[in-house]
Structure formats: structure tokens, C-alpha cells
Chain length 456, copies 2
């Protein structure tokens, strides 16, 4: 293990260089214009695996490919399935980046680039920890299987099918994902709960073209007015969601968990000032941390309708498109909620308009067992690498594959985040602290060892 | 008069060629990128006036210039002030034009171009009628003054100031504007009432950048959600406007006027199918014609917020911008309504968000005296040129200067529309029937004569 650690320390500079190569690839899964770069990113990952001696291949899907790799020579020992995603969020709005999103730059000890922390930088720590074991000892203390997909940012549409079709190939004892965050700088965390999600879009269409609001105003339903009204039907002014049945299956927070959340240091003023706001908002029955981690939400992600250039243009727009997402908690059923939402929108649609609803992806909320040997192995590995025991947290984001691992492979997932939730995930100037990257590689290398020990 | 008519007939082809030159100039007042083209359009109009022997000049304003011209040698006879606007609406969405908006093309007897009917084509009829009188008789039967502005599509911000500062120069007995429509093809109309308008934009701002909806969703107010909610506070699902006091000063429609509206031929099914809709909508206490002409409305003209590209992007947008317009009827006070709207928006703003409201322009609704000698002169001129007496109508659009003429110059306005309200004003594929253009020049030439007769 000492040899492995030394290798990681000695090669840290090279790892960063290789990460830069990875970050330069514009693997934006949401935009079909970037399909060649998606392929290039998959090939980059495959080549990484091949170079360190794993069996690996690019597996085609109906969308972007999956990169699979494995090392399974530790007979009789546990098998860990490591998941990550090589696709990234769109970089817009481009004009808010200090340095271009696909030209990684180091400032203040952080690498700035789209995907730096979400998830290229974090997944890379596990490739490098396996490389360290194999280069120094010629073996791993456990078996590993890697599934790195290219569709996480667009709803992982083809991943479930792959896992369902390959249950034997991907069979494992535990899954590991580094796509979450530490609780705070130098305060590593194990995330035992995640919100699920629904990601969709609806378009309200009216006249066959934009119309003069003087000639037609008041005589026909305006798609922009009505799209806005539909949004107002989804969630009220206090943050209560109005979709019928939305809260029916929500598992209530226990007093113990509420107490645990409240015991974590949380500077709400700083949390808000970091994002330029002076007030939180939402369902006042719950704390801000509770609302973020363990309560469902509905957010509009984008709206486009009519004239959006400079100055006025007095038209009735032909249509309005609203992108929306919902974050879900156990045991809400995404499909049931999608149906209720569709019915609500359709029932409230004004005369003369038509509605088209698209859902790109859904995933259930998750809470994992916090007392398993794997959880204990992870605690120990993180303490070794970071010098401090991790706190147990939930997070508000969604990693739908965790539900699939539970449902299809019957395994829990260790969500071990090396980054910070202030790393501007999904925002301009995304970054990842290099110290966190390096500690991540060490924690990962320890984890393989600790799992072998705790589980045996 | 016969000579004048002959001249108009003989020179019709040349008039169309000159109109094409005018239509090729991209005089989009709303977009500052087109400032050179705005200047070019003003110079084109000035050169037209100069060529036919009017005193003319380009008058600078804080925004786009006004072109003024006059012929006042008919001592003791009435003076007519002719208003028009050489600016046009933005041509977006460009991809819906069959032929490019600034490359005029003739199809099915119509000229297709942005501004063909609104208002370049219509104002041009009055230049040409004056040209015909001067070229054939060397004089006009009355005095004329032209005020052609370049800011009608952006709220006429500097026109009122010009008129107020130059009351003697623009003093007149009656105003004439051709910026409305016939009631239907071959069914010319005098528009005796117009809706006023308010044209503005509001922006709801929240976080200093787009945020991950998993990390922040439910914890802070979402500017897109809340902008939509604010829209829903302005107007209800049935078309009733919710701005406090909005209806207080509305002059009720008389039974006589409702009866007159109802007596006009109106094929609602065709009206709707022309715009690709199968149902009207709005305040059910009023007919569709009443809602369009004589009832106030609130329309969203455009919304932009967050991610609007392909696929999902699960963010909370940093801000949302909503363009809105309201159509007003006598005696609603635009300023009072703007204040009530601002208060309503501010009072309903969620915690943590900020609001910025811009108003580009306002104008009161108008109803003119239908029994004046000028109105009778117009009836007679139109009957001469179109072979049929005009119907008396109101229109839903706004021409705020009509209120200014009333308030500052104490004159009524003759609203004589040569086009059709199906000419795609403010929409892609705007057009103007050439036959209507030519009949407009004839009606205009007759009008100068009829005014001299009816008023003397």
C-alpha cells in the first residue's frame, strides 16, 4: 500500500496532464453537434484503460457509447463496479467563463474547465488508483469493473438497458461512484441519499405564426401567457408543489435525520452570498438543508417564446417552450408523477392551444444502508487519505443509476465525492481543486484495500 | 382631378419600383445594429419629398430622426397633417419567410416584404398622390404637412416632444394616417377607434449565475418559475386582467356600437383557420370582435430564461426576461396602469429575487367623431377610389400619436387603411396587395379635393 501511495504522489503531475487532455474534449451529450467529440472522449477513456492493462471495450448504444473495462483476477474476493460519466453539461452561457470551458486552466490551485469535477476529474481518480495498484504490485486487492457512460447529463437513456441486458457481466458486490461532493472544503463526506429526478420539456402551441398583438390580443389564447400560467399551476408561491398526488409517497424525514442534518455546520448567509442572493426561499416547514437534500422540488430550467431581441415587438408568439426538472425523494414514483403532470397541464390548457410534453429521463430518490461493511471500508479509506473521518450526508442532485444498481443488480452504492458543491457544477467556471483530485486518487487506492479487509 | 387620376394610373409601375427601393432598406428601429439603415430610410423619404417640390428636412431627435415636409401655398384653405412611419418591425423569425424580408417580391398580386403594408407601402400612397397633384396641376387643393417618424415600432418615444415643441409648425385642421386596414378585401373602412398600448419588459433576477437544480432546487427562488408566476398574476385563465384598477376607467360599449359591430360580416371560423387555430379565447362577456377592437388585453410578447438549446440542462436560471404589451381602450390611463402593474409585480416577488421593469412606450385608446366634415370627405374619397362606401370600424392596434394630435394639436385623425389585417403585419411574410396600393393613391388624391369641398 505504501508503494501504491508513493506511485500516486510521484505521478500526480502526469495525471493532471492527462486529465487536461480529457477535459479538452468537448463531450457535450445534449447537443448533437458534438457527437464526434463524444466518440473521441469514449476512445480516450478506453485507451486509458487499455494502457494500464484492463480488458476494455467501447459498447455501442442507441445513443452515446458506454466504455466498459474490468480486472477480475482476484478470485473469491469482492467485485466493485465503478460508475462514472464522460459527458458534460453544455457550457452556456459562454460569455460568463473567465477562461474558455474546454481550455483547462489552473488558477488558485484549481483546474477550471467544463467537466473538471462533473464528472471527468472525479472518475479519473479511480482509473489512476487502479493504475497505481497494477503498476506497483501487478494486481488489485479486489476485482473491479468500470461502466463509464456518455449520457448522464441527458437522462442516461440507454444505460439501464445495458445493465439489464448484461446483469452477469456487470455483477458485483458494491458499486462506487464519485459524482457527488465533500460536505465542505476538507470535510469529506459519504453521501448515503440522493434525490431522484424527472427532466423534460413542454411546448404550448397556438397560431401558426407570431401575430400582431393589436389585431389579435384578447381574441385568442396567447401561448406565452398560457405556458406561464401552466408553470404557476405546478408550484405555489411558497414552494409547495401542486401536482396532484405529488407528496403521497414521500417518506417523512425522521427526527434523528433532521437532528443529524441540523448538527452539520451550515452558514446560510455565506451559502447565499456565494450565489449572490440575500434570502433563501421555499417550503417553510423544512430547513434549507432539508429542502435541498430530502424534499422534492420543481424547477424551470429554461423558457423560450416569441421575440427575445432588443426592444419591444408587440406580438402574440406562435409557441412557448418550457424546460423543467423535478427532484424526487424516496418513495416517489417518477412515472406516476409524470402522468399526473401531463394530466394537470392538459386539463389547464386554454382553448385553441395544443400541448406537447417530452420527458428525457427519470430516476427515483435513494437512501442507502449506512451500516454495511462497504460503508465502513469507505469511511476508513477516506480517513486515511483526507486525515479526517467523513460526515454522512445526503445530496440534492440525482444519479439515477444508483436506483438501477439497487433494482437490477441488488447492490448498494458508495457515493464518495472528492469535489465541492461550490465547484460550479452545471455553471460557468466549473472547477476542481487539484488537492481534492490528488486526495481522491489516494482515497480510491485505499478503498480497494479496505474493502478487501472489511468484507473478508 | 381627371388629370391627377390619369397620372396615378400612368405612373403606377414606377411607384412600385420606388416602393421596392424603400422596402429594401432594413429600417428596423428596435435593433440598434440597424441604425445606418434607419438613417438611409429617412434620407430616402426626404429625397422623395424634395424631388416632387416640397420643402423638406430631416429633423434629429434623441432617437431616430423625423422627416418633415410641407406644401402650404393654398392660403385660407384647410391644412392636413399626414403622419406615417418609415421604421418596421424586426423580421424574426427569419426562417419562416418564403422570400427574404428585405428583398421585395411579387406573388399573387401582392408585394411581400417587411414594411410592405406597415407602414412603408401605405405612407407611400400619400407621397404619390401629392406628386400627382403637383406634377399635373402645379398645386394642391389644400395645404399639406408630412410628419414621418422612425420610432413607431418602438413606442414613438421622441415624437410627442417634437410635436409639443413645434405646435405652430405642425398646426393643422385634421390629421390623416394610413396605418390601419380595410375591414376585408374590397371592403374599405374608416377606423374611428383604436386601442392604446403599453409596451414593456420585466426581468426577474436571482442567483449571480445559472445553478445546478439538484444542489439548489427547493432552497432558493427560481427566477424562471417566479417570472411565470408573475405573468399568471396579470391575467386569469378566462382573460380577465388582474392588475388592480385596470378596468376602472374603461368606457363601456354602447348597445348601438355593439349592434353595429355585430352587423359587420365576420366569419370566425375562417378568421381562426387563417391563423391555424380552432378556437377563440377570452372574456366571454364580449364577442370576439368586441374583444379585439374595444376591450383591453395583456399579452406576453416574448420570454427568455436559462437553457433553451437542445435536450435537458438541469439548472436554475440566473434570470428571466418577459416582454409584455397591453392594449387599452378609452378612458384607461396608461401611466396609472403602469404604476399598478409595477406594484403588483413587486408585491408578488419571491424572497431573494430582484425585479427590473422597463416601459418603452404608452398611448391612450382613442374614439374619433364620426360626423365631422372631414369624416364625410374621407367617406366620399374612398367611395370614389374603391367604388364602394367605407364601413365604420374600430381596430385593435395602437397608434399613440392619434392621442397626441388630439391632446396637443386639438385635431381629430382620419384613419384610412388601404391594406388588410391579414397582411401579416408584425409576422413573417408581410405583404400588401398591389391593387390596394394603387387604390390607396387614388383615394388619397381624391381626399385632398374632397376636404377642400366639404370644409369650405
Amino acid at each position: 500500500m505504501e508503494q501504491v501511495q508513493q506511485f500516486l504522489t510521484d505521478n500526480g503531475g502526469r495525471f493532471v496532464d492527462e486529465l487536461f487532455q480529457f477535459l479538452r474534449i468537448q463531450s457535450v451529450s445534449a447537443d448533437s453537434a458534438f457527437q464526434p467529440q463524444m466518440r473521441q472522449a469514449a476512445e480516450f477513456v478506453r485507451d486509458q484503460f487499455a494502457r494500464i492493462g484492463l480488458e476494455t471495450e467501447i459498447i455501442e448504444t442507441a445513443g452515446h457509447p458506454i466504455v466498459y473495462a474490468s480486472w477480475t483476477k482476484a478470485e473469491g474476493l469482492p467485485t466493485v463496479l465503478i460508475y462514472g460519466h464522460y459527458d458534460v453539461q453544455p457550457p452556456d452561457p459562454l460569455d460568463q467563463w473567465v477562461t474558455p470551458p474546454f481550455e483547462p486552466t489552473i488558477r488558485n490551485g484549481c483546474v477550471y474547465a467544463r467537466g473538471a469535477t462533473d464528472d471527468k476529474g472525479q472518475l479519473f481518480t479511480h482509473i489512476k488508483s487502479v493504475e497505481a495498484w497494477l503498476e506497483t504490485t501487478g494486481r488489485l486487492p479486489i476485482n473491479v469493473k468500470f461502466v463509464f457512460e456518455g449520457e448522464e447529463e441527458v437522462g442516461s437513456e440507454n444505460l439501464d438497458q445495458f445493465l439489464t441486458d448484461n446483469t452477469e457481466r456487470v455483477a458485483c458486490d458494491i458499486a462506487v461512484i464519485s459524482d457527488t461532493s465533500q460536505y465542505a472544503p476538507d470535510m469529506p463526506a459519504i453521501t448515503y441519499g440522493l434525490r431522484g429526478g424527472i427532466f423534460g420539456e413542454f411546448t404550448v402551441s397556438g397560431p401558426n405564426q407570431d401575430l400582431h398583438s393589436g389585431i389579435y390580443g384578447g381574441a385568442i389564447a396567447n401561448p406565452a401567457n398560457e405556458a406561464a400560467r401552466l408553470v404557476s399551476q405546478l408550484i405555489d408561491a411558497n414552494g409547495k408543489i401542486l401536482i396532484p398526488g405529488f407528496y403521497d409517497d414521500v417518506v417523512a424525514l425522521t427526527d434523528e435525520e433532521r437532528h443529524q442534518f441540523a448538527s452539520l455546520p451550515f452558514d446560510e448567509t455565506k451559502f447565499l452570498s456565494n450565489i449572490g442572493m440575500d434570502s433563501a426561499w421555499g417550503d417553510s416547514d423544512f430547513s434549507t438543508t432539508e429542502r435541498r437534500w430530502a424534499r422534492p422540488s420543481v424547477d424551470i430550467n429554461g423558457i423560450i417564446s416569441g421575440y427575445t431581441g432588443e426592444g419591444p415587438k408587440s406580438i402574440i408568439p406562435a409557441k412557448a417552450t418550457v424546460k423543467w426538472s423535478s427532484r424526487l425523494v424516496p418513495d416517489q414514483d417518477p412515472d406516476k408523477i409524470v402522468e399526473a403532470l401531463k394530466t394537470l397541464l392538459q386539463d389547464n390548457l386554454a382553448a385553441g392551444l395544443t400541448l406537447d410534453v417530452t420527458v428525457w429521463g427519470t430516476g427515483a430518490g435513494i437512501v442507502c444502508n449506512t451500516n454495511s461493511p462497504y460503508m465502513n471500508a469507505a469511511r476508513s479509506a477516506i480517513e486515511s487519505a483526507f486525515g479526517v473521518a467523513p460526515v454522512m450526508i445526503r445530496e440534492g442532485g440525482s444519479i439515477p443509476v444508483v436506483a438501477t444498481f439497487r433494482d437490477v443488480l441488488s447492490v448498494d452504492t458508495l457515493l464518495l465525492g472528492w469535489g465541492q458543491n461550490t465547484d460550479n457544477l452545471h455553471s460557468p467556471n466549473e472547477h476542481f481543486r487539484l488537492q481534492d483530485f490528488h486526495r481522491g486518487t489516494h482515497a480510491s487506492a485505499c478503498l480497494w484495500n479496505e474493502i478487501a479487509e472489511f468484507v473478508s
